[in-house]
Amino acid sequence: MNRQRVTSLLAPVAVALVATVGLLALADAPPLQALGLIGEGAFAGRGRVADTLMAWAPVAIAGGGLIVTFAAGLWNIGVEGQMVTGAIAASAVARSLPGDRPLVITLTVLAGVVGGASWGLIAGLLKVKGRVNEIFAGIGLGFVAQAFATYLIIGPWQRAGVASTSGTEPFRQETWLPTVGGTRLAPIALTVAVLVLLGIRLVMRNTRFGLRLRAVGSNPASAALLGVPAGATTLRAFLVGGGLAGLAGALLVTGIQHKLVPAIGGGRGFLAVLVVLLAGSRVWVVGLIALFFAAISVGSSQLQLRLNLDSSLGSVIQGLLVLTAVLYGGWRARRERSAPAIAPAG
């Protein structure tokens, strides 16, 4: 790693850190202790590590899907809604299908993939056939998915006797991902996440599809001249991105919640967008930053318990990091543009 790379990584972290310390001081909280608590909350003890890893899996999976859509030049902000439809489809299977654990879990997870992919496909069709900007289609479809989940929870899928927005009845235990070591760690979820990331790396590097995605993303006009079908490539990107978001949603149902709750995505899809904005298209960096962000999310819940600070500080730190990194990148690019062509001596 050269020096420029290191500063471009450290400068945003330093700025975000200073801002965070300022925010903590504003709340009369001891900054070092608070930051220490975040680390402790994320990693101290097997249970915490398990929680962090389980928070990592859905973000990493959705992030993998976003690498694909970003490569095609698409802003798949609908990822959050695709997570929700994935969770809805998974719940539909989990609550109704009889049978043994391996079969039920497999079908539940596959249903999630289909649920997410269908929502992605709609956004893709709106983009390709209707020329509707994918950001607004995605946000719009997300609201619809969210409303549909809420409707199911207080309507047809309501708990016996009480229509409450706290969620459905927990699904039967055969639909839960098996956990290990008395923690909430489900090895299946982690394995799936790692496989997804490896698969994305393979697809992006070694397949014609990966090449086409990048061609369409970097220059749609010349891609068309070279015979790359832009529309079909865009649709496939949405299918993959949506399917992976749906997979993440299914894991939230089977691995974490064990029932359908409103807003089941909980902003994890949006968090995945932040991760990929920061990490770029390199798969292992996406995995790493997803882990870092998952640790911040899980760790900051300790702030509430121990220092009576709002746990949203974690989201603030994540947002600050990405904002400063993006702005810093732009600022450096501008300096390079305005620098004289011949470097001064010395």
Binding site: G140, Q146, L274, G319
Partner: protein
């Protein structure tokens, strides 16, 4: 009926500030996607300042400043750093929401000051529309005045014409001696300030106080209505009143139809998507003739240079 009409006009006021503000910004070619986070942040700041100082007016000013600052970050990142405005706007959406939640914790669920009702004597007794138009408070009157002023300035005033030129054809505007990026900064600051006023109009008038995620989703709804309303203040306002009507109706039916209140906020989005599909449908455009005034009124297009950065070299 009179009371219903009055509550629709009042309920739509915050949305009008946000949507008309964003329409002005977008008309100049800047897309400020941060609305949903920006409104949350300004709603919180407006309430916090009004709560601390006891002055509702100061609350509105603080809210306007906060959201203007957010909008200027978007504009700066696009104009000076040539970054993708959508990317920066999206990050600010999430950051604004998180900051409002963190900084607003101490002000959550507290009774605080509110805009005082100021019915205009005489006029507010006009049967039918009197109560809706003249029986409100300054925040609501302001929203009505804004629609009229924005529509007039954009259509007729020199400032509005130059602003539109900057958003449609920045190169041509530059060639005619208009400082494109100064206009864009101005439109971003003005639109942002109005987004901030929208936040304060929530927390100090329509949905009193502050709680986590207080205005959830309204920023996105405002962004949708800007498209739905074709970037024209009057039509944008009509979209806001339509949504205000839906809200009021849902509130009345809440007891009879459970869950309506939760589902309702998603309604503008299918409508918006439908409108966008229509707007872009080539068949419909051909059917109506390509560039007649009627087509442009019914099927408006986005400002040609929306989101495209301009460097005058």
């Amino acid at each position: 009926m009179e009371a219903t009409l009055a509550s629709i006009v009042a309920a739509a006021a915050p949305l009008i500030y946000a949507a008309v503000g964003e329409a002005i910004t977008e008309r100049a070619g800047i897309i400020n996607l941060s609305l949903d986070g920006s409104i949350l942040l300004s709603a919180m700041s407006g309430f916090a300042i009004a709560y601390t100082t006891g002055s509702v007016g100061l609350g509105f000013v603080a809210a306007a400043l906060v959201s203007a600052l957010v909008a200027l970050v978007v504009a700066w990142s696009g104009i000076s750093l040539r970054l993708n405005q959508v990317a920066v706007g999206f990050v600010l959406t999430l950051l604004g929401a998180a900051l409002s939640s963190y900084l607003g914790e101490g002000f959550a669920h507290r009774p605080g000051p509110a805009v005082t009702p100021r019915p205009i004597p005489g006029l507010s007794e006009i049967p039918g529309i009197g109560k809706a138009l003249f029986g409100q408070n300054l925040s609501v009157y302001g929203s009505l005045a804004l629609v009229i002023a924005a529509a007039w300035i954009l259509a007729r005033h020199r400032f509005g014409l130059e602003l539109r030129a900057v958003g449609e054809r920045p190169e041509a505007a530059h060639a005619r001696g208009i400082n494109v990026n100064r206009y864009r900064y101005g439109a971003a600051a003005l639109g942002g300030a109005l987004v901030g006023v929208a936040g304060a109009a929530f927390s100090l008038d329509q949905k009193l106080g502050w709680s986590d995620g207080h205005t959830a989703g309204f920023g996105w709804i405002a962004l949708a209505i800007v498209i739905f309303g074709g970037w024209q203040p009057i039509r944008v306002a009509l979209g806001c009143y339509l949504f205000g009507a839906l809200q009021v109706v849902a509130l009345r039916l809440q007891d009879r139809v459970p869950g309506l209140a939760q589902i309702l906020p998603s309604l503008p989005f299918p409508l918006m998507i439908f409108a966008l599909v229509l707007v872009n449908a080539p068949a419909l455009r051909r059917l109506m003739g390509r560039s007649s005034r009627a087509v442009r009124w019914i099927l408006p297009e986005a400002p040609a240079a929306l989101g495209r950065n301009f460097a005058p070299e």
